[in-house]
Point group: C2
Chain length 156, copies 2
Amino acid sequence: MKIELSPIGYVKNNRFSMEDDFWGEVLSEIVLAENISTNALEGIENFSHLEVIFYMDKVEDSKAVAQCRHPRNDLKLPKVGTFAQRNKNRPNKLGLTTAVLLARNHRTLLVKNLDAINGTPVLDIKPVMKEFQVQGEIKQPLWTQTVMKNYWESKK
Amino acid sequence: MKIELSPIGYVKNNRFSMEDDFWGEVLSEIVLAENISTNALEGIENFSHLEVIFYMDKVEDSKAVAQCRHPRNDLKLPKVGTFAQRNKNRPNKLGLTTAVLLARNHRTLLVKNLDAINGTPVLDIKPVMKEFQVQGEIKQPLWTQTVMKNYWESKK
């Protein structure tokens, strides 16, 4: 089964290469693709947060595979499967982040906390609702602390 | 730009038609696709929650468009754009839900709170980490209360 998708928009920001950390201060614009009608954003300004699904097109096909590896190739961390980590080398190359919506201007959304590089195709945008948030406690293994240490930090 | 994706798994449950509400008690299995290696799930059992991106293949192509409409066609609710609501009729037919991981059994995940019907292709699974959760207050418009009223309720 093959599934064909098209971008509904593109990311514009000042991150031009794939790097893991320091996404804290990055501001991004999401600009609607030409074939998407402007009114698809109607009312989006009444939400504070958006879930953005994007396509990490710069990931090499040969690396977009399901496997089991040390996160960030750090041998001190346990080997875990692709679906037990969020690294970019994964089948379908899908990225997913909850971004903060700062402003809407016609066909452009200004967001922060979006960890996608400049030019990344966006596949969907969904408004965050409390009813879809995690209820109860989140459990996650200790190794995630190492990986996330500088992720949302600001670049010095 | 066309993007071609393949399912990494499929949903198995007892919901056979597209209905909006009463997802509260639904248990689902996600079974890996044949071409995906089992070790891609290694260590996933150490997470409590998973973000599941799925492809709502039963949505008609003619309805998978960006537009502006009353949520659930309820004329009492304000018209809002496709990207300001989470309804299934959207470009790329992507669904996204945070599910509770109950158990892993070899190539199968048992989850609850997954609002996808039986047979739905799964495109990606990402573990939930606190560091990717919303920081600060979530703001959302009043109409969402109407839409979400019975969403996670149990079927009587």
